[in-house]
């Protein structure tokens, strides 16, 4: 019990931050706190905050052939807005985003199946579903390219059993973006599965038992209990999923060779950014493009937060 007044005193000392005299009991603590955050703060300053300001500056400049930035006002932004490839990349990115979100329903269904009372092997299933997420993206891209291969690929072979025609999935402009999107879904489902498994576990079993007594079947229980009570988790996962797929780069970079005829139909905004910044040396325009992307991410995230009131139920 003797600890309590000391705690209260410490709290009071911490709260009354009006005078900065060095004699208060909390002050030694206060000064050393800065030493604790200094290393990280320094790292952030050098590698995050300063670069952010720099990018802002770059976006208003032109990068010369021999280095050096010349101020050109809003020209880069105008170039970005007028460029057809930017709009195409943005369109592709939004398609990836929509396809990427398909991982959520799959993960929710699997999570609720795994939640079945007395089911064995839950951790084995979870482990297997999670493996694609842990695997090197380059390896994932390479193996899927091989599966999608138009001449010797297994995908054509299997679809052939059902009478489908052969296709060059990743070099046909009408299918490439979906072929890559499918791999995105495949590789991220395990990640959302883990998140949803935690969410589903938080739903009291009594609800299901009571519903069962009232004669509700498994589908009914899924739609009236699992989905509404999981909606905060679904909301979180959809925000994360959207932000991640808007920044997608790795898979596309790996799966699309330079000479691929479908390259324009699959390029993401970050892919275009990479091309401008590090291949075409158009740093200013690339910086402007990056800001455009951030704006899109912010706008869509804001939109999600606005819409959530209509469908997310907080218990």
């Amino acid at each position: 019990m003797s600890v309590f007044p000391a705690t209260a005193a410490a709290k009071a000392a911490g709260r009354s931050r009006t005078s900065a005299s060095g004699t208060r009991p909390g002050s030694r603590n206060q000064r050393s706190a800065y030493w604790f955050i200094a290393p990280l703060g320094l790292g952030f300053a050098v590698f995050y905050f300063w670069p952010l300001l720099q990018t802002l500056y770059f976006s208003f400049t032109e990068f010369g052939a021999f280095g050096g930035h010349t101020f050109i006002g809003t020209d880069n932004y105008l170039r970005v807005v007028k460029d057809v490839t930017v709009w195409q990349a943005l369109g592709n990115t939004l398609i990836y985003c929509v396809i990427g979100l398909m991982a959520l329903p799959v993960a929710i269904v699997v999570a609720s199946l795994l939640n079945r009372r007395g089911l064995r092997g839950v951790s084995v299933y979870r482990a297997l579903y999670f493996i694609p997420f842990v695997t090197l993206p380059v390896a994932v891209g390479l193996v899927w390219n091989w599966l999608y291969n138009g001449d010797f690929g297994l995908v054509n072979e299997i679809l052939g059993w059902f009478g489908a025609e052969r296709n060059y999935w990743v070099s046909d402009p009408s299918t490439a973006v979906y072929a890559i999107g499918t791999v995105m879904v495949w590789s991220t489902t395990g990640y959302y599965l883990v998140i949803f498994m935690a969410g589903v576990k938080g739903i009291p079993q009594d609800y299901y038992e009571a519903a069962e007594l009232d004669g509700a079947g498994p589908l009914r229980r899924f739609f009236t209990i699992t989905l509404p009570l999981l909606s905060p988790t679904i909301f979180f996962a959809s925000v994360i999923c959207m932000i991640n797929s808007l920044q997608t780069f790795d898979l596309i970079y790996i799966m699309m060779a330079e000479k691929n005829p479908a390259i324009g139909d699959t390029q993401s905004v970050v892919g275009l950014f990479y091309k401008w910044a590090f291949i075409e040396n158009a740093q200013g325009a690339a910086a402007a493009l990056a800001f455009l992307l951030m704006l899109v991410i912010a706008a869509l995230t804001y939109l999600q937060f606005r819409i959530q009131k209509r469908w997310v139920h907080y218990a």
Binding site: T7, L128, L136, V138, V143, A257, F278, I297
Partner: protein, 277 residues
Amino acid sequence: MPDRKRFDPGSVATHAVLSLGALIMVFPFLWQLLTALKTLAETSRVPPTFLPEDWNWASFEEVFTALPFREMLTNSLINTIGRTLGQLVFCSLAAYAFARMQFRGRNVLFALFLSVLMVPSSLLVLPQYDIIQSLGLLNSAPALFLPGMFSAFGTFMLRQFFLSLPKELEEAARIDGAGSFRIFWSIMLPLIRPALAALAVITAMWSWNDLLWPLIVNTDPEKMPISAGLTSLEGQYETNYPVMMAGSLIASLPMLVVYLFLQRHFVQSVALSGSKS
């Protein structure tokens, strides 16, 4: 109580669906292995064969001559260790201060640090590249891990754990005359070991798998990590699928092993990032 003797059709159906899903998740890797073991001629056969005719291990040796594969694996290892250690040290220090210490400007600084989470990484790579270049570090090991040593996510996550610890421990130590660092190092840090493990495991995975940043800073094949190195294999060996599959398998193996052994921590870190953000 699971009753094993009674036949439960619902449970059988559930297992059937889940197994089919699991097969779809794992099959590409099995196919990767089978392809790596085939001869080049066999991989281009129509219809494809399932099992290799002769089990041919040569591709696993060939990747080591096709690329500076050993160096690339070492670079990946250095990158992964550098980032992980950096995050554990820097994030835990800052997280501790934000969770357990009183100081002027704490909330403002914390909000500022958290804002790093919201900035897309592509927005920063141009100036980050310039910084690495001006430090003369292009094509070096530190170039790979320097920016990744500082993480807002890690700080946020560890802070949540520090917040959950009881105050009494700290006060008792302070009465015994221990300084802030001593309390942090020998009392508080050991108590959040599970969180540190989870952060380490997830950071290691991101570092091993990262592609964009290594592609930018280390363009010399000898200095690339394996994630970037494999893409150059794709360029040179466009049609040599056994070698590409063998390379992919070897490159994925370390993280798969880490995952299988430390699954608990992976799952925990994902569930945490899911519930606490």
